[in-house]
Symmetry: D2
Subunit: 476 residues, 4 copies
């Protein structure tokens, strides 16, 4: 059966502007034709939808999500054996929010690949997933890279099991090896069926705010070569100006959150490497208002870092680098979002400015980069074509062209007028079919309501807590 969409303004991502009154015909998941209504032969058995006054854009993409990001000890215990359920939920949240393809750049490989394959086979609804598994060089959720308090709190049986699930053969121990030996481990990991390779150019930040270098330049080259030899793209996790430069020199296809370089700004010569090397620049921007809110809760040193990252984003725009939308998008357990401490983090920003939320953060990204001066069509491409190209999937995805996979979003308002109009999603089409957005996520887990406290619990909160101290103690 075919699907014909009539009457909309089509912003195909190829042309620099929208084309009014276009029709799009699709069949078997691909675009058969785009054009004026009279140019398109309509097969029998075609469902027709009138989208007059609407705007059709390519399906949104996200160059960096974590469909399973909430590696809180509690969550990992509670959902052990059910990680796939959480990933399905997240991929459906993404799809509902207009993202027809997401690139998961860190997570539990087996569960991610299992869900990826079920979605690819059409067994379940969800955003198309391409995934990296672990970030080469990082240890697991219960380690110095994430939460080093857990070993000794959790049983070692569980701690080791969880860490092993994330790390497999790609953890910090690779840092001890020669470049060649690291390459061999990466090759082994690729053979499991991941879609692209991500490695740590800088440490994760539990240690020195991300300043340490994880792999030497030579090792980084070897990792990138292994990825390319296997036909995959390679990318790095980078968080310092040297970590960034090394990633670019090593031949990465894209670099994650490349605007984040601690308190230092990216030097001009490194900015230029993006175009020289044709490397995608994944940027994590905050809105002006988000910056202002954050300023209130963080130290001067931290602020220095956010300011530098903001300046970097602007310089990257000016430098002509190919910019990619991404936001570490994930879903946190509601218990976490309720904690008072979350306020002091970027995840605790008001929803309008919270970049990291899977369901809405990409809209924040678009508004933030509009504020920093990106043009409307560049914003669209950052969320579609640029990502497809950097990940080498632009034969199938990223623009609305005949022959490509029929992924698209129908908006009520013109996204080229105002970036906030991306929120006006009217419909999502994936693989040539309308998505039943109201049904998503089919089984809310982390996005479900937190259940009400027990009667005792409420009472308990009112009485004295552990750890509180006597007022007036002279030396405490």
């Amino acid at each position: 059966m075919s699907l014909l969409l009539n009457g909309a303004t089509v912003i195909d991502g190829v042309s620099d502007k929208g084309l009014d009154g276009r029709s799009i015909l699709m069949e078997n998941g691909r675009i058969l034709a785009i054009g004026r209504p009279d140019e398109i032969p309509v097969p029998a058995d075609t469902e027709t939808v009138d989208y007059s006054g609407k705007f059709i854009i390519p399906g949104l993409m996200n160059a960096n999500v974590h469909l399973f990001v909430n590696v809180l000890f509690e969550t990992l215990v509670r959902y052990e054996g059910g990680y796939e359920d959480l990933i399905v939920e997240a991929s459906q949240v993404a799809l509902r929010a207009g993202m027809t393809t997401v690139f998961d750049t860190w997570g539990p490989r087996r569960a991610l690949m299992a869900v990826r394959d079920k979605i690819d086979r059409g067994e379940i609804a969800g955003s198309r997933i391409r995934c990296a598994g672990n970030i080469i060089g990082f240890d697991g959720p219960f380690s110095g890279d994430f939460d080093s308090r857990i070993p000794g709190i959790g049983s070692s049986h569980f701690v080791d099991r969880v860490n092993a699930t994330w790390v497999e053969n790609t953890g910090r121990h690779l840092m001890w090896l020669t470049p060649e030996a690291v390459g061999k481990e990466v090759r082994k990991y690729i053979e499991h069926g991941i879609d692209f390779v991500k490695y740590a150019s800088n440490e994760h930040g539990g240690t020195s705010a991300g300043a340490f270098i994880q792999f030497s330049e030579r090792t980084q080259r070897v990792i990138v070569e292994e990825a390319h030899r296997a036909g995959l793209t390679a990318q790095s996790h980078s968080s310092s100006v040297e970590g960034l430069r090394m990633s670019l020199e090593a031949g990465c296809d894209l670099v994650q959150h490349c605007n984040m370089t601690g308190p230092a700004e990216i030097p001009r010569e490194t900015l230029e490497l993006f175009t020289q090397k044709d490397c995608g620049a994944v940027v994590f921007p905050l809105t002006d208002n988000g910056m202002a809110v954050l300023r209130e809760t963080i130290s001067d040193h931290e602020w220095t870092m956010w300011k530098a990252s903001d300046t970097n984003s602007r310089h990257l725009i000016e430098s002509g680098a190919t910019i990619l939308l991404a936001n570490d998008g994930g879903i946190f357990a509601p218990e976490v979002m309720q904690e008072p401490l979350i306020k002091g983090t970027w995840n605790g920003l008001p929803e309008e400015e919270a970049l990291g939320r899977l369901a809405t953060g990409h809209f924040v990204w678009l508004r933030a980069m509009e504020e920093k001066g990106m043009s409307p069509i560049d914003l669209l491409r950052a969320a579609t074509r640029n990502i497809a190209r950097a990940y080498r999937v632009d034969d199938d995805l990223g623009t609305l062209e005949v022959g490509k996979i029929a992924d698209m979003v129908v908006l009520d308002e013109d996204p080229l007028q105002d970036a906030k109009n991306y929120r006006s999603i009217h419909a999502v089409i994936k693989d040539g079919a309308l998505v039943d957005r109201d049904a998503l996520p089919e089984r809310p887990l982390l996005t479900a309501e937190l259940r009400a406290p027990l009667e005792e619990e409420a009472r308990y909160k009112k009485s004295l807590h552990h750890g509180e101290r006597l007022p007036g103690c002279p030396s405490c």
Copy 2:
């Protein structure tokens, strides 16, 4: 339908020795007759079992178990919503091991009472449960009384919920109140339907090894009075000589682990209070071999404490106090028992000497107290009649007498010959019916095998772990 047991030596707990070749007839859960075969009229529709050569004793009791003792963070997350399942499992482990009645002296009240009632109604198999809920004065599993590291690791939502489930209105905050105000809270807690009251005379030991006093003597009196007014018995958690003395003066019906008084021995005048006040002395003894094994792993200070507790046990026997068998019996998750650190604790003793295990610890108790000089019949009574009397349930339980509930254990070997013969359980009869021991526990959870490690996990263990340090670092 009636049940007739023929041919066994019956050690009824009333007489000081066994009576050979006796028959016991039971119906509707109660004992109809005990006597020589020819003395007993056998109704039609009677099932007869020949136990010639066997020994029948009253059903074993345990004055202090914790059917849900494994308050490890992981366990509490994993089984949230399923605490009853764990309690059912434990009560079946107890029943299989010959304990027809157990007194649970600390645990989640609602779940314990729910299982208690299902067993009482005959809906599920299990040891008869009588329970106290929380120990009046203790905070929850995630507090200074148990594990103070968890707040801040677990979400406050979960931490508060768990603590509230255990504590309700009976936590440390009562320490701030006047005796009368504490009494009011105890009354409220009793109304929930607990079977007896347990309060903290000493702190739980997370702080100063149990030396602090939790409630003043006046408050202790008020708590005991509230229990008695409601027709319940009262007992205390005590861990110092003053905590013990205060409990006795306050009128407790029994005192838990009264032999544990830190590094100090119980003074003579306090020993005498047990008989003067007719108070049950619950003793936690180690075997000589258990003591020797433990000595290897603990500090001199800790050893002082164990030695004093051993001396106390012997003095209690000599003083003629009514001694009760108990062992904090519980089931720990297999992950926990596998931890290297468990070795240095009494739970890490070899099974033959490990007092605290629910399935076997009572056998250890009997051997340990035999070593310290208790007579065979006193050992039996410590495990049966003395417990029934102290808990005021001796109208129904504790001895084999006509009219009492038909709970009994059939042994292959004579327990009055050697305490180790209690292990030779041939059959268990509860409420006048044979227990299908082989079927218990029906659904193993904490007693199930630990699943095998992931392939990755095994590999992970071989590579470098978090937290290990460079050899040769001069100042680390």
Copy 3:
């Protein structure tokens, strides 16, 4: 040589009001005569001072200071071997601030007694010291009672040495003993030459905010009896309503910070015990403004405690209890007072409201209690006569009467008009001689200026610090 003071209004603490135009003659440290100028025979060789328009009051006393309170690890290392120097400094700060006698209720016994004796012998200037040494039952500065983080940070050699210096034979281990055995240790400690006995009725608060009871009522009685048998007064550290009641029942001569009873108010019957038992009520009050400032930085639970303590203070006034001025007065190292964290504590209040500072806190006390309704003459007596009586030194101290020790303060303004006038100190006379206040403290250590930072240090503060984290880390 004699000293004659003429012309002042004398508020002798006996009469309820000031007597104008009185002269005071003193010799050999004692008051020879008080009266109208013409009533007093003036010996030859008499120095005469005209204090017309001034107000003379008895020397101020403080019922609870800690001349060595700053048990910060750093301070204890830096001044090891020189603890006496710190105590001399503090006693001179106290004297300069009008306190001619202070009762040190916790500190290093040997050093305190050494300084006490030097001052008594007139070898050095300083406030008259009477001291208790350790609080019976408390462990040392590097323990769960004060700072439990230090063992493992400090060498065990040093940690043990410091703890031993404070604790000697009177630490937490006494909690294990019978009342009689505790009594024996107290007797031994008294023999070292302390001036009064202070024991812990409640724990120090590192644990459960001060709610635990440290010693049973019987043990408390024995401790008090030992003090009285030796001719010393006894007092307790109390921080809960039961801890307070037990102290009163045990026969204490005074109870420290008795208004601090956690979140609960003192019940009426306990309030009445103060007069029934003739026990001194040491109160730690905050000013209304101090309370308001503190409210901003503390949690609701902590606020509950401060509010209850405020209500208690008012109730104690109404109940007619004998109230004593005290404030845990001590000197903190300037490094400590500079820490941002100090803001959230009562020591971090603005100087006008900071009760705990040795040099000024007693003035805060007087203003605070005036606000709560104490009459002018009762305020004066709380700071003089009441303290002398409670400590049984009123034969010599506390009022201006012939034969008593000539300790007095000359004020520029009338203290009975307004409590803030106590700050208008014109002169201090101790042992019949004018104190050279400008020379005190003779050797500033903790009261010296903090030296300026190194050039490198300033620079260091501007660069990135350890422990700061990468902005934008998804899971940190």
Copy 4:
């Protein structure tokens, strides 16, 4: 005045063997002549010493000591303002042990340079010091690089001051900068007057056992270039095979503890770089017996590291690399050496095997490397000529040649016979004069006896300590 030594076997370090019956004449600190007695013209006013039967070798050198290594919080407080005293003490301990020149590769720059200059000017006795100050890239003693527990325990005033004293402008914050910007900071640091530059190729090990890379290859090159431009040598702190390779590629003159590369062995191609690049290989070896003792106390993972380091040492010998003696030699406070925990570290080895002790560790080094197969003359050169060459001071030091500085050690036994004979020091000559070894160190501080415990302290140790727990607690 001249000094003439007669009769000894001279092992000058140039020839491969000892020359019997040689005389050495020295004046004004330099060697005037070496030869047979009859070849040497003896000036008037010459002191002559007969060393017949003795062996004279060049003054020993140590390529890596830390004259102030004991950066324990306590020590840093106790000796604030007196760091030079500790450095003088250490330099005298070194001199007494035959080391006429030591290279201090990490310490407080100002104090080290001050002592260096006093010794150079002959104002005080001591080993000749050449020093680097901080290791470029490391944060201070109270940071993640050393002891991250102290911030929050120490006052921030003191913590910042200490850290600044060590770090100045060269800490971890340099990791954020571009290579050029790092170079500028290094230049500034060199201008303070340090003798050589040491930087971190790998992190210090507080984090990931030393696996992280601190500076990119490009930054390392820039640092080395800055050193060379200023006429100084450059060296790195390296602890992984990649960290080592990068150091060699960057042009280091020597690499510290290059045999320590975590669990991995140095690959052949990296071994070869030592000779290709003429880079000195500083090795930290353990004796066979030391390895065996250590094995008992460490984990399997740690053992893997020590084994690899041992294999590396052997491979370095085989590869013909120029090997340098060094041992991180320092003096620890006696309190530290007394701690039970020290046993599990290499500093806790029995003195005969403890590599890191300043007074004796170089003797351990020589025995250890002899065991691993170094020839007698190579051992001598590792301790003398090789160090002088690598540090570019071989015009003056390292061998006994006419014109060089007259530093030498007189041994009772032949060091070419057995490495243990280096311990048989008969005399030390520095700058042409006999050292009064018995007088050193002139003022023992860290090498003084620990004073005896207080009476109270001994008693305190016997009573119960904080933190001990109740035996028999079910869930602790």
